[in-house]
Structures are given as structure tokens and as C-alpha cells.
Symmetry: C2
Subunit: 333 residues, 2 copies
Amino acid sequence: MKKLINDPSDVVAEALRGMEAAHGDLIRVNHDPAYIVRADAPVAGKVAIVSGGGSGHEPMHGGFVGRGMLDAACPGAVFTSPTPDQMQAATTAVDGGAGVLHIVKNYTGDVVNFEMAAELAEAEGASVRQVVIDDDVAVKDSLYTAGRRGVGATVLAEKICGGAAERGDDLDGVVALCERVNANARSMGMALTSCTVPHAGEPTFTLGEDEMEIGIGIHGEPGRERMPLEPADRIVARLLDPIMEDMPLGDGDEALLFVNGMGGTPLIELYIAYRRAAELLGERGVRVTRSLVGPWMTALEMAGASVTVLKLDAELTELWDAPVVTPALRRGA
Amino acid sequence: MKKLINDPSDVVAEALRGMEAAHGDLIRVNHDPAYIVRADAPVAGKVAIVSGGGSGHEPMHGGFVGRGMLDAACPGAVFTSPTPDQMQAATTAVDGGAGVLHIVKNYTGDVVNFEMAAELAEAEGASVRQVVIDDDVAVKDSLYTAGRRGVGATVLAEKICGGAAERGDDLDGVVALCERVNANARSMGMALTSCTVPHAGEPTFTLGEDEMEIGIGIHGEPGRERMPLEPADRIVARLLDPIMEDMPLGDGDEALLFVNGMGGTPLIELYIAYRRAAELLGERGVRVTRSLVGPWMTALEMAGASVTVLKLDAELTELWDAPVVTPALRRGA
């Protein structure tokens, strides 16, 4: 295992110290229990948005805390759900009296723990709602998940709902918007290599020198198919075709195209994939009017990529464009 | 070689098509010769800033084209200097009549080709100046380089000079500022793994399972020392100590700390390194007032990191904070 770490047990805590040192103007970090909140939390009268999940997917979610996106993020151990007490403490810390939305990726541990946290926080007087993101078309029921997994749409939902909360939408409105993003987004990913959880010390799975896995999850969960490596354009079609078969998107529609890097794939390769995905959407008459390209939701050093397509309307576009000031994503102000 | 590419010969051209498709609101791409310009180039009366170098270091430089940073970037083949005709065409395309600054990383091919391009552009009436960035304290004279190599300070110089050009500084002023950034910045990097140039198909060098290389260049050029892998905190000290020995920075000074990922090292590890570098600077009485953490100047999928320290003053801080709207780096507007 070749990693730039000290003791594997200290990885998350030390990274949080780094985030705190680097971004103290935007965020505050609570260390026990571990959570990150925007520097001015709680914002009175604003719906608060909380997310979280296992660490190892950075910048998701901690890098998305700040004005216009998340109020708080709860980092679990690497690839491990955060605990209800983290989530409850974060919820209480950011509750500005207008309610709290939990945006939860569909992994059983995350969903159950966020539900427990919501009950605990509600017992203390908070009003909490949960939206589960399940945009991954690759497989139904997977290791760690009943139903579809939550992947790239999470980043888009956090940005768009953050914009809505910032402009003053109420809790019902932000919840409805989050459900709309999830309903209009689909994703699928693939891996060229495995990744190594620091505590495990060994790769999560193995792939032969000429193999790739199509439909893989962001923790290395099995996908649809393990097969020989192919050219990028063929791989992109293998990701985009199932997405398009599953979503209501066609001639004349507008979309956001998000090509995400899993960590170990260079940006130059992500742009090659983006180019082909945009071409394929164009051939179907879809106008790609917004884009996101980069390692925004990673699986440690895994090489690979995922494609997410979000059908846009005027409101989603406006909220996507709204100012955001977080460690990872910035626009405006 | 496991890469998300099609034909190795098409990597750069296809990635440029992807950038064009994703960021058409911010940049325009010329394909033959290949260069990227900001969408509103040339900006009349503004000093234009041009950079470039081999591809494979993304987002540097193409991702830094836009308002508040570069007017143009010239991408060469992977790890190969762009040609004088690319640089000349880019220079002419962005010349707004107030002169053009070439910010050049110190690699012999880049320096010579940019000098030739400047002569060609000046023969056509442009006023061109060159500043060579040479901030890497690791080695003096290296594969491809006479003197010190240009690395992380390039990103900082491009941002700060871009801010100065945007506020209306003249060519002499922007040149002086670029020289000031270079004089006040030092860097050093290390690698945990090698990387593979697509055309070569084999790793550029090899490192044993328990080895790392301290002081490596961003093309895999030899560093100071190949040695057994150590904990992150020890590695950070091995990078920061030579930086501090070489630069005029001490008790009471302010600095920008930039921890850069080489591509394959996850962000969570970069924050662990940032934390330690900030602590070590703090122990010397240096106040870290600005930060940059992430894979901003990469070496394809190489695992590793570099540390850059820039001594700040009020003007450099103000220009670092100035609005910037590029595909990779955004702040304000």
C-alpha cells in the first residue's frame, strides 16, 4: 500500500485538520463527533442541508460545505457510514429554525443511520426531512444497498438544493426540488483499477491488466460486467446507453452532463470521455447546456469514471448557476 | 497501459474537443495549431498572458484560461513542449495591443520555443516579454532543464499576474509582478508511483513497492533521492525543509501554502499533507493566510504530491483573491 498517510487509523481525523487549516474562512470542523459546518452556521431562517457518508470520496461531501451548497457534512471512516450521533450533532449545529434536509446516498448504512439521526434531532425539536438519492442505473440491489445506489446525482442535488435554500425556499420546496433532481438524473460508472482502503491495506478487488469493470460502485461494489478493456469511445457508450434507456430525455431537451473521475484517472482522459458523451447526446437531439468535469466524487485512487446526465429545466439551470462558495466548488462572490 | 483513451495519437486533440464542448462559455479552442484562448480574446488594451507546455499536467494550463488568469494556453503533446508556431499563433490571437507576457516553466524546450515564438510575434508587431519560472529547489540542472525546474509557482504566477492584467497594469508592471512571484516562491515534490505516457505505453520509470522518490520532476525526471517509503509527516518535512532553507521567509511573515497532487494521490491524503506543512510553517512563526490544495499541476496518474510556499505581501494577497473565471479555477462572478 503506497499512500501519503501516517497511521491508517488517523487518516480521516488528520485530513479534517488539514481542511480546517486550509479553509477556515469557509468552514468550521468539529472533531468529536466529526462534522464540518459552514463558518456562519446556523443561518437563521434558512433551510439547512446536511449530507455525509464514508470518507474516501473527497471532495464529496466536506468540500461542498459553504454558502450555496451544504450547511454540514458528516464524514465516516473510509468507505464506512458515519454514525447517527455525528449526523444528529451536525443537524442540531446547523438548524436555523426553518428545517433540515438530509441528502442521503442510497447505501443501507447511510439511510438507516440518517433516519436514526433524524429521530434524535426531531426529539430535540428540529424538523428533519430525508431525500435518498438513487441514480445509479448499473445494478438493482448491490453490496451495501437495497435498490439503486446513490452516486453522481448527489453532487448535483447538493448544489441545486443549496441554491434553493439560499434564496429562501421553504423545507417542502427544497425537498421537492431534491426529489426532482433525483428523478431527472441517471448515472453509471466504470473502473480500470481497484483502490485500497487504508485500514485494509490490500486492494478492495482485483482487475486483470486487460480488464475493466462496467457499472461498478464507488466502493468497488460489483457492477454489471467485467470485460476486456476497450477504447474510451466504446466505454462511454456502454455507460451512456443504459442511462438514456432509463430516463425521459430526448430530442429538444436540455441536460447537464457530468463526467466524474474516480480519483486515479487524469483530467485529460475525462475530457476525452466528456467529448464522446456530449457527441452521443447531441446525436439524440439533447442540448448539453451545462457541464461538470473532474474528480468530484472519487473512490480513493481508483482509476475510472462515471457519467451522470441531469435533465434540466429553467429553474434547475438557474439554481445550478447560482453562487456557491465552498472549498471545492466556487462560483460568484 | 490502462487508460480511458482511444488512439494514443489522438489524446490531446480529443481532450481539446472535450474542453471546447464543456467550457464553450469561457474558452475557444483552435485546433491547428492547437491553442486555447479566453472566449472574449483579444481584450483591447489589456496585457495578454500566454502560457503552455506539454500536456498531461491538466488542469494546467488550459484549465486556467479565462478572465482573471490566462488569455491563452498552448498544449504540446503529452510531456512534450508545444511548438513555436502554436505559441506564435496564440500570442497573435490574444494580443490586445498592450503587450503579451509569456509565462514559461523552466524546461529547455519550452524556453527555446517560447523565445522563437516571441521573435516571430514581434516581427509581426507584438510586444512580447518572457518570464521563466524556476521554483523547484529539488535539483539544479536536470533531465530537460538547465537550472531549476518550473513547477507549482507557475499556477500562482498565472493567477496573480492574471489579476494584475485584468485590473489594468501595464506590461512592465505585470512582468515585474511575475518575477516577484517567482522570486518569493519555492517548491519541491515527490512521487509514490510512476506514470505512463500514452505513446510510450510503459511507465516512465519504476519504483519498488516500498520506495518513493523525493524531489522528482513533473515528467518523472530524477529527484534528489530514492528511498524507503515513510509516513506522510516525515515526507512533508523532507519537502518543506529544503524550501525553507532556500527562501527568505520567517517569523511574522505571511505565506500562501499550496499542496499539489500529482494526479493519482487522493484529495484526503493531500489534506493530511497540508495539515502537517501548515503546522511546520506555524512552528517557524509563518502565518499561512492563503491556501490551495488539490491536483492543480499533475503528472498524468502519478501518485505523489508537491509543496509550494509563496511569501505574500498585501498586493500579492489582493491579486490572489481577485475574481477568476476559468474552467478549473473560479472565484467571483
